[in-house]
């Protein structure tokens, strides 16, 4: 197991390096010039040239890449072209909001979806199944921003139960923190509820038709014990897989959700940086995202061993 984890961690570094090269080339070969944006609409070409020189953007691409890699090897993501703030510091400032949003979203989605999927499988073909799967289809079809706007209108403007936007750190109080995360978590989580619920239902249906489930029922196991103890554990691998995929997909979902609900997280940081061609930020954030993606996949693989003792690495 230890050797397996070490191998996977090494491959994580390789993936991050490849992503880094790809992103660097993609950004620097795409049209756009931060110097022109900084200089403003009224700037002369000479002024823009001088800014480009100051930023080192007139150096050959190979030199710029070597500089960036050298910084990375020293644990330095560089500084923002615009604010001149260290990229690492910007990521550190934005990470808590994104972590809070993704963790509440995935918790909400997993708990609700697994429960709904189990119930739908238990009552397969019945009214409850159809209603739950109908909601699942709806959750999957409606875009995050539409759900977001509807929630804002109903819960924040009409009922005035929750704030429209913003983020308060946990240090600002439990309710202020939670109240700012409820609507975004629901908006972002609905698609994942739908996805996880459908996979849970399908996986549960397969397990419920197995002989050992009939045996459990014959031995007098209660419905709850049968569903959640015997069946769910055996249906767990595909569910954990899809939750893992969901965590990875959340990375793209947070970009929209953070914008709609004005949450100062990594998604907003990325969008703003792309608009301004703030290369060091984009590169830094994407390297972090790619590392997270690979590590989540590793965690999912390790969780398999807890669910299914037959799986060993």
């Amino acid at each position: 197991m230890g050797a397996y984890i070490a191998r996977r961690l090494l491959s994580t570094l390789l993936v991050m390096a490849l992503v880094g090269v790809f992103i660097f080339l993609l950004l620097h070969l795409a049209p756009g010039d931060p110097a022109s944006i900084i200089a403003g609409d009224n700037a002369s070409p000479a002024q823009i040239f001088k800014i480009r020189h100051q930023l080192g953007l007139d150096a050959p691409l190979v030199v710029q890449f070597a500089r960036w890699v050298w910084q990375l090897l020293h644990g330095d993501f560089g500084v923002s072209i615009f604010s001149e703030a260290p990229v690492m510091e910007l990521i550190r400032q934005r990470l808590p909001a994104t972590l809070a949003l993704t963790s509440t979203t995935i918790s909400f989605a997993a708990i609700l979806a697994v429960g709904a999927g189990v119930l739908a499988a238990w009552r397969a073909g019945g009214l409850l199944d159809r209603v739950l799967m109908g909601f699942a289809a709806l959750g999957f079809s409606v875009p995050v921003f539409v759900v977001g706007y509807v929630l804002i209108y109903v819960c924040a403007i009409w009922l005035r139960w929750l704030p429209v936007q913003g983020y308060v750190p946990l240090s600002g109080g439990l309710w202020p923190w939670a109240s700012h995360l409820i609507l975004p978590s629901i908006a972002l989580g609905l698609a994942y509820v739908a996805l996880i619920a459908r996979i849970t239902r399908a996986s549960m249906l397969e397990v419920l038709s197995e002989d050992y489930m009939r045996t459990a029922r014959a031995k007098g196991a209660s419905t709850g014990s049968m569903l959640f103890h015997h069946a769910l554990k055996n249906a767990g691998v595909p569910i954990v897989t899809v939750i893992g995929i969901g965590v990875a997909l959340l990375i793209s979902g947070v970009v929209i959700t953070e914008t709609v609900f004005n949450i100062p997280g990594l998604g907003r940081l990325t969008v703003d940086a792309i608009t301004n061609r703030d290369y060091p930020i984009i590169q830094g954030v994407i390297v972090v995202f790619s590392g997270t993606y690979v590590l989540v996949n590793l965690a999912v693989d390790l969780v398999y061993t807890l669910i299914d003792p037959r799986i060993r690495y």
Partner: protein
């Protein structure tokens, strides 16, 4: 698993008990007097000389002060300056600073600070660079007086020091102002009416300003950016809400008090809200233009450029983006409408209206031979996106092959600097806009220069026009400037370096319990504003 009556009643009671608690918990935070605003964009740069971003100029107007400032009639008035004089030969300006000026680190403002600040500003500002061609020396006398000595008379010195267009001539401490003009100043200490609260600021999220209680305002009532900057608000917070719909919802729910640029399509919703005031603070608004590349065919030919005047109907462009005529106007003035330089000289093309046959004839005279006309289309900005498509459509109507080059604005700003022909990454038309006020300043606005490859993108050349532009700079008074401006407009509409697409205002929205906003182009001042 069924739903019981008891359950429904229990849920209802729980909702009845908890909902008011939730509402109370979500009521506006206990910061009475704090003004929460959503401005036009994120404040990424804190040096208002280093960048021309308007949001940074807003920040500058909070934290820094200026030697002069324009009043509501666009006339420069002393601000940090107490008295000033001009020598008889009109070559030496002498300035005396007023009493009570101090930096927010509790050191006094000195003439040496101002000398360094003017020099740094002039290195970055287009108009400042022109001014420096006439400057022999800028020097401090004692702690409160300094001089600008010229080699020959240059009329708009005071106008330049007062101008609200970016970069504004903000005063900084000498040690900050001595920073290379192409490097950012890292200190955030000025002598303006607000201090920047770094500890409460969350970059990318909110920017916090506190009233600076030691600021000594002028005694005169506020007028434009001039007069007394009396601050009532103890704190101003700029929230960075990128999503327009969310910002609007936040305004309607009372989470924010002021929204600088509500989207034009949502204005009816705000107008119908009894708690919201909707008003354009910048009455002259913005001028949209299609800039033409004078270096390569077809627009290297003046006939092809003149053809564009007969091809494009301003109303179409304004309707496509702004919809409601309440917010836009057509305008043929070379220097914008509602500005001190407004003129209708040489605008027969405008009075004549769209004439496709004439446009086609002019393109033929220009020797147009079917080459594609590349129109840069910034798809992420509605006005630019819509206008590019309209221009392409009109060109196609007269048989000119239009080619839209779609990218975001970042892509456009890069490509427009390419002087090569289209097949080597160049361009023929791009769309942009500027404040109408800026369009009335032929020295400050590079887009109004026609000095060939030294000019702004499009690189038009007209030596006679350039001679007039320098004469304008040296003109003694407004009447002389206006007369020279008329001659420039006459030449300008013959040369057609750009086509005007219309002029519009962008209303601001604020809650009814807020009052006292000062209407002026380029800056949103927060002094004089009250919240009850």
């Amino acid at each position: 698993m069924g739903i019981s009556r008891r359950g429904v009643i229990g849920s209802g009671l729980a909702a009845g008990v908890f909902a008011p608690m939730v509402r109370r918990a979500n009521a506006a935070p206990g910061d009475a007097g704090t003004l929460r605003t959503v401005m036009q964009g994120d404040l990424r740069v804190f040096d208002p000389i280093w960048t021309t971003a308007n949001i940074t100029a807003y920040y500058g107007a909070m934290v820094y002060d200026t030697l002069f400032a324009i009043d509501e009639h666009f006339k420069p008035q002393p601000q940090m300056v107490d008295k000033w004089s001009l020598s008889d030969d009109k070559k030496t300006y002498t300035f005396a600073l007023r009493d009570g000026l101090g930096w927010q680190d509790n050191t006094p403002v000195t003439a040496a600070d101002c000398v360094a600040s003017v020099r740094r500003w002039a290195a970055r500002d287009g108009g400042g660079q022109v001014m420096m061609q006439f400057v022999k020396d800028i020097s401090a006398g004692d702690d409160k007086t300094f001089k600008i000595e010229l080699t020959e008379p240059f009329g708009p010195v005071i106008d330049m020091l007062a101008k609200p267009t970016t970069p504004d001539c903000f005063m900084m401490r000498k040690k900050d102002a001595e920073t290379d003009p192409f490097q950012q100043v890292s200190a955030r200490i000025g002598s303006g009416p607000f201090t920047f609260n770094e500890s409460e600021t969350r970059p990318g999220s909110q920017y916090v300003f506190n009233r600076w209680d030691k600021y000594v305002p002028r005694k005169e009532p506020p007028s434009g950016l001039a007069g007394g900057k009396v601050v009532s608000l103890p704190k101003v917070i700029w929230e960075n809400i990128a999503d327009e719909q969310t910002a609007l919802a936040a305004l309607q729910s009372g989470e924010i008090d002021f929204y600088e640029l509500p989207p034009i399509d949502l204005l009816p919703q705000l107008a119908a809200d009894p708690n919201i005031t909707l008003e354009a603070l910048n009455k002259t608004g913005n001028v949209g233009i299609a800039r033409l590349n004078c270096l390569h065919p077809p627009f290297a030919s003046v006939e092809a450029r003149q053809a564009m005047l007969y091809l494009l109907n301003q109303s179409d462009f304004m309707k496509a983006t702004f919809g409601n005529p309440k917010y836009y106007q057509t305008c043929a003035s070379y220097f914008g409408c509602g500005t001190p330089m407004q003129t209708d000289v040489n605008t027969d093309w405008f009075k004549h209206g769209v004439d496709l046959a004439k446009a086609k004839e002019l393109f033929t005279k220009a020797g147009y031979s079917g080459e594609p006309v590349v129109v840069l289309q910034a798809t992420n900005i509605a006005f630019m996106n819509n206008s590019a498509q309209l221009i392409a459509g009109q060109l196609e109507k007269i048989g000119v092959k239009a080619q839209l080059a779609a990218s975001d604005w970042g892509g456009v700003v890069t490509r427009r600097s390419v002087m090569e022909p289209d097949d080597k990454g160049g361009w023929d038309v791009f769309i942009t806009w500027g404040s109408a006020y800026a369009f009335s300043d032929p020295i400050g606005l590079l887009a109004l220069a026609m000095n060939g490859k030294k000019a702004w993108y499009g690189w038009p050349t007209d030596d006679a026009y350039e001679k007039l532009r320098m004469e304008w700079a040296g003109a003694a008074d407004d009447a002389a400037r206006k007369a020279i401006g008329d001659k420039m407009a006459a030449l300008g509409w013959n040369d057609v370096p750009a086509v005007i697409l219309g002029q519009w205002v962008s209303p601001q929205a604020w809650r009814k319990n807020v009052s006292g906003f000062i209407g002026i182009p380029e800056i949103i001042p927060f002094w004089n504003v009250k919240k009850t």
